[in-house]
Structures are given as C-alpha cells and as structure tokens.
C-alpha cells in the first residue's frame, strides 16, 4: 500500500497513453506524417502526369519558359542544406556544440535562400496560375513544395534557437533528428519535382 502511494506520488500529469506499436512514438508520428505527405504529393503529380501524358499537352505551354538554370542552382542550394543539417546532427552526436550551431544556422539560411529565389522566380516567370492548365500544375506542385520548405524552416528556426540556448546533447538530440528527417524528405521531394517539372 505504501509502495503504491509512493509510485502515485512520483507520477505527474495524465496517465501514459496506450502504446500499441513497438516503434518509438516520435518516429511513428513522423512515419505516418511522411506517408500522408507522399500521398498529397502523389495527388499533385497525378494532375501533372494527366495533363502531360494522358492529355498529351506540350510542356510548358507554348510561349512559356521555365528557368531551368536558376532552379538548378536552387536545387544545389537545397541539397547543400541537407549536407549542413547532417553535419549539425553528426556534430551534436560527437558533443561538438559549435558544429551543431553553425550547421543549424547554415541550414536555416540556405533554406531561406531557396525560398527567396523561388518567390523571385514566381515574380519574374512571366505566366500566372490561371493562364493555362500547365501553369496551374506548375504553381501547384512548386507551391506545395514551397509550403513544405516554409514549414521546415519554422522547425529549423526552433532547433537553431534551441541550439544557441544550449539545448541538446550527445545523449539527447531527438529534437534535431526528427526535423532532420523531415528536411531530407523535403529535399528528396524537390529533386523529384525539379527533374519532372523542369528537366524532363
């Protein structure tokens, strides 16, 4: 009775949630989230392939031009940001706090640069979403990805601020790991978007 009383006194907050999976909850959450994200992108790619393959429409629409080179540089910037977040993660695993802070800050700035260039591209591309079906799909796919970059940047900003406040350690760095997985997912998605929309 006394032991039960002590155990009760040690417990704070609501009772622990039921766990039916052996997968760690944070990773299970990210797994389910990314699966749903793949489905969302799949829906947008279906529209793209419907217009281009099933309907056989020219890509881009006659008179429109896609800035392949600028987007290629932007692709290199985003891939670089995956390298820097991997550097940050490796640094904190080895107890290198300076590497964590520099890696996170660089990743955040590279992500901001990507988004800035994409917005600039929208402003100068010369066609609007309502002009034709190809333009609608172009803005939808790249815009959906841009929204993911924005969400990723919010996560990166939180991790960067926490890094500078002295959070995370070689033992406890799940907070860097999960946004890192999301950021790599955003990067892989962009490579698919860039190669299908701009190059092929």
């Amino acid at each position: 009775m006394e032991a039960a009383g002590i155990a009760h006194a040690d417990h704070h907050g609501p009772p622990a949630a039921n766990r039916s999976s052996r997968v760690e909850t944070q990773l299970l959450g990210m797994l389910l989230f990314i699966i749903s994200e793949v489905m969302v992108f799949g829906a947008f790619f279906t529209a793209y392939f419907f217009i281009r393959v099933a309907k056989g429409a020219p890509w881009p629409a006659p008179g429109d031009h896609l800035p392949v080179e600028v987007a290629g540089v932007n692709t290199a910037i985003l891939v670089s940001s995956s390298l820097t977040i991997h550097w940050a993660q490796t640094s904190i695993k080895n107890g290198n706090r300076l590497g964590l802070k520099a890696g996170m800050l660089t990743t955040f700035l590279l992500g901001c640069t990507f988004l800035f260039i994409q917005i600039n591209e929208y402003a100068n591309i010369g066609f609007a979403p309502q002009d034709n079906a190809q333009a609608t799909v172009f803005y939808s796919l790249t815009g959906l990805h841009g929204a993911h970059v924005f969400i990723g940047l919010c996560l990166l900003l939180i991790v960067t601020i926490r890094s500078f406040r002295g959070h995370y350690s070689p033992q406890e760095h799940r907070g860097v790991e999960v946004p890192g997985i999301y950021w790599h997912f955003v990067d892989v998605m962009w490579l698919i978007v860039y190669s299908t929309v701009y190059i092929l």
Binding site: I85, H86, Q89, T90, G180, H184, F185, V188, I199
Partner: protein, 36 residues
Amino acid sequence: MLNPLRSEEEAFRFLLYAIAVIVVVVGAVVLLRAVL
C-alpha cells in the same frame, strides 16, 4: 534494411541514393531523347 525514417543518418543516406537514381533516370531519358 534501409529505413529513412529510423534516423537522420539513414534519411541522409536515402537522399544520396535518391540523388544517384534520379541522375541515372534523368540522364537516360535525356540521352534517349537525343538519340531517338
């Protein structure tokens, strides 16, 4: 087995594999377009 959702390290490795596959696929399509 590679599981990109298990850790950041595996997600990064998956990204590198994805880059390699995409480069090969895009290269093959561009090459075939040029030849045919």
